[in-house]
Symmetry: D2
Subunit: 364 residues, 4 copies
């Protein structure tokens, strides 16, 4: 399905970085969800470049919801979100048409689209496309909120600096809400320092994000191929820059013994819970009622202003390249709102498949 | 689609550990692929328990291909693979019906299926179901072989012991073919020792698998949501025990700077290649012609014979459990053939979507 | 998805007429449905050739359900149905390999599969494949029965003889249940006479089937592309021989004026109903609570024993052909159980999408 | 997938009649197709109301293609088409919120969306949504044109007046191109007369459309559930007002004997052709190289200005209704461009699945 993801709730994205507009259509959202425009703005502002550590490109993200919402409430029909592109400077990119930027999609897109692709600013592969996804995801978060499901993402690691992991999930997720630099500890200044250091070195850095989803009932997900891990990883690898995902203790479990790794069941306040959560809330691909927890590896932004080796596809020889234009030394901060959004879309879809499309209309 | 995966080439699995039969239907395989039954047997034998380090359950894996193959050649119609269950000892499992095994699917399945699930031996969640997937994957590997695509998986880490990574991909993949304990270095004896140590401690261990896929042309995969990473991770997380996946340098990229992580392009023998392969052959979700490389985190086998805490769902109280029956102290060795198979199914699907269903009929 | 159909409830078919076995996998059936084996047998027996008017091929249809049912109750996991082929006489068919039978799939299959197709007895295109579909459909009918949805199909027209249309839907559907020659009036003998007349002329005839589905609540179906008409027609055109479908008054509506065709709403016993049902229970692609009604055009069986013109693909010249073997002079009687079955699968799928997979577990 | 249709080529629609904008996203179109804007305009103008016989609503259809086209050529990424709504008069509709119009989607939509639907002018169910589908379809027709596939639709019957059927397909399809009132004979004036007669009676009429698709190679389509009939009918029943579809001789085949109905094969200019085309170019769900031919039953426009019986959902009693506003006495003329478009989208999808996404880039 290419640019569409989801079954009962699905999202379709379109647009190019320097085209006329970008957007998304989210379908299958239950009728009766009140749109909180302030919340959308707050999520968009978390994704937007901020002074100092991000790209200098100014994006107003003046989105329009042109369908599927009537009198401020979802109708149940497709919600189309459109964001016109305004601050585009195409001349920055024209010279790199034949000299693909290392670690970007330029070369693989050219092989796929035979040179017809819109190469300006990464075209359809640009991180710009995540802006309408954040609007779509914010709407999903409003739907999830009605049934008590909450999602939070923080920067677990950046430039070698660690944030603490989730402890009290409810409190931690609330604390992250609306945060422009989402960390749970006091790591912001040290992480920012590392980002600025990379920037001044005309370089970039990546990091690790950690996400928790709480309030999901046990029994969601489908064997064998629509496991919760399958669905979330499928959608999240759609985000440029994500190169790894691990659920619960993830790769660390590879070094554990079963006796350490297994999450024992016990009763707490009459509910079945596990004493540890190394499986990240998922057993056999299906939720067990514990928080869903996963980490994402985000690679350093490929666009750096240092000279890099590449090829000249027009002439068939090796050459070098200096990327001009405006770029983020680290996208990890801005990626948090995107990860929240995509996770919300996936959860809405899995919940709707399990409990029907009206579940969100009725609410908890 | 639950138990079905894929678009142009799709696989459907069915069966329970102690039911009458398990099986898979693979649809969309091009007509004209000669079935190499010896190769299927060799892949099945790699998945089968071997003496000493694996479960004592004897599985003959006497599969039957009941459709889609005529005179030993694929017809283009669905290929159904059926494996009757023979060596089942259901009495081992009946007592655990209400006491879910930690880290297994027992509890989450019960919440999903309301107690109607076949709980014997993990039921539909049993690793047994991977046997027909190996047959399906072997057929896909025959199709891929016709167009020069090869896949190999080795145990990168187990019990703290490391194998070396891929170096010369072609040679290394050939060396792994048919190997019962697939490693590239001399790590087998030390890994085996760790597995046996865990076994004698009535415990289990996990590990990390590394897979390489070579021969895939540049330009395969689809933005945004059918990226190569999306498709592979979706399918691979279907395998029980997989808790993480990383492509190329993966989580290590989170600690690199862009100048280290970026894979420079250059010409080699007239072909565009990258000098490093930190992106694992995938840029922007699309292949760049370099080997596709990924690592999978495999958790320790949940079934251990030590006493574990759990709940008694019938009585609503905490209890403890000793798992009897026959289990693997480590599934990592057996998982290699499964990972090869699922990767092969995914690649067939992505290639068929890109180049048409007949591409494999015509061959290279 | 080729041989798979459905979203929340999906069915996959496999097999060839003269292969080792045929079968189907139905996935997404809710847990907790008790299997009524007598009902399955009765539906299979309605599909089976009966003496006199049908093919002489004896099919025992000894199906096995090898997964997804535990202690006679559905588990919620895929149900695999396997029917071994026994009474196959392949020699009847070998001579027609290069001389495609008119109106059969022989030629188009050869163009699609490049000669690798199993050409014996129509191979994968054989009506035999509908036998496991009938088993799958019968299970769906049991699920639908739990929530008060019932389906009935009768022969509306055959050989120029008309049956009466549905009048009292509930009574009529009950009357059709288990009927081997499903008509609502006394048309059986006259229709049978026409079938036998065609048979004695070494010819075949077709007809029109009419189906009604009652008990479906208003609000099922999805604009624009998963309308109830879309979903049913998609699945029903999978049946060989179906060449047309019309809902409600269908093609007759093309000759009506709006004032005649429009179904006025009124209240009856506190329920909104329509005074007529020209729309066949569907407005805007969504159910309105009235009976869903549709007619299917079934073409005459292509296999006739008269000499026919065709081509010799091996020699590249025109030739003639006499089809030997055992064939039905009319499949319309046997098709009723198949249409019931496919309709049931579609309804289960649409209901599960709308109300969640557990809706059938809870029951009405 | 609700508002999305297609596999390799897919279309997603959004919007409401009186919302801010309507639109469509078409994904999977091969790169390298030159956009002929004149052709899009010509197709849109065929769908637009014309003086006299259609609705008085003036729709400018000022569409924008905001993505997926670069320098007038498709890029291979999603093409988003947006049409702002301008001439909307919402006050005409507000009074009918609780009094559903007979044969419209008002009541079934209310049951589905619980009253949250945008009820103005049919909301998401409005025929307005077909305008962006016509743009999407026109782009698909450009792609098909590159490989020699052509599509034409004419009014076979309207108000009891018959057009002649297709004779010389190539010439006939060319003759229909751009025609505002698409008939093959001189039936226009008599049909128009019938439409105006219905209009003056404050009534409406329907009719039958006939479509032919030529140039499709043999071997396209998939058993069992993606037959050419399945795919086309699925998509075409998405159009409001379609109540029946028949392929080739369709319902007339139900009255034929096999010896009449079977299409004999013969050689003509070295090609395999059939002497008749009662199967409409499709055998066993797969194309046989002959023209694909189907008829669609279009019901009379539900909106008539006569008084009609309906219910008052707010008060729970029966009432009557006079529909004001501007409506078409017959949509059949305007539907031709829509049927062409949806057929084109389906054919692009089936061709891309069969021959790969690049097939259209390479061209014939």
């Amino acid at each position: 399905m290419k640019n569409t993801f989801g079954v009962s709730v699905s999202v379709t994205v379109f647009g190019e970085s320097h085209g006329e507009a970008i957007g998304a259509v989210i379908d299958g959202i239950a009728p009766g969800i009140s749109i909180d425009y302030g919340y959308i703005d707050s999520q968009l502002s978390r994704r937007r470049p901020s002074s100092g550590i991000d790209t200098a490109r100014q994006e107003k993200d003046e989105y329009k919801i042109v369908s599927g919402v009537f009198n401020g409430i979802t109708t149940g029909t497709p919600i189309a979100i459109i964001i016109p592109n305004t601050d585009t400077r195409s001349k920055d990119y024209s010279k790199i048409k034949d000299t693909p930027r290392p670690s970007h999609a330029d070369y693989s897109a050219r092989m796929k689209y035979h040179g017809y692709e819109d190469y300006r600013g990464g075209g359809h592969f640009s991180g710009r496309i995540t802006a309408p996804l954040v609007v779509a995801g914010a709407i999903c978060q409003m739907a999830l909120d009605k049934i008590g499901i909450k999602i939070g993402t923080h920067i677990l690691k950046c430039g070698g600096v660690y944030d603490r992991g989730f402890e009290n999930y409810g409190t931690d997720i609330s604390a992250l809400e609306g945060k422009s630099f989402p960390v749970l500890s006091d790591a912001e200044s040290r992480m920012t320092e590392e980002i600025l250091k990379a920037k001044s070195d005309r370089d970039s850095i990546g990091g690790v994000l950690q996400t928790a989803i709480i309030g999901v009932p046990a029994g969601v997900g489908e064997p064998w191929f629509d496991s919760v891990e399958s669905v979330l990883s499928h959608a999240l690898f759609g985000i440029g820059g994500v190169k790894g995902i691990e659920f619960g203790a993830g790769f660390a479990m590879a070094d554990m013994r079963g006796s350490e790794a297994n999450d024992s069941f016990t009763y707490k306040d009459g509910q079945v819970v596990t004493e540890t959560n190394n499986n990240g809330g998922i057993n056999g691909g299906i939720t067990n009622g514990m928080p869903i927890v996963f980490n994402l590896a985000i690679k350093p932004t490929p666009s750096i202003s240092r000279e890099q080796d590449t090829v000249d596809l027009a002439n068939g020889n090796s050459t070098s390249l200096i990327i001009e234009g405006r770029h983020d030394p680290a996208i990890i901060r801005r990626a948090c709102a995107v990860v929240d959004s995509i996770s919300a879309i996936c959860m809405c879809d899995m919940i709707a498949q399990r409990f029907g499309t009206d579940f969100f209309t009725r609410g908890k």
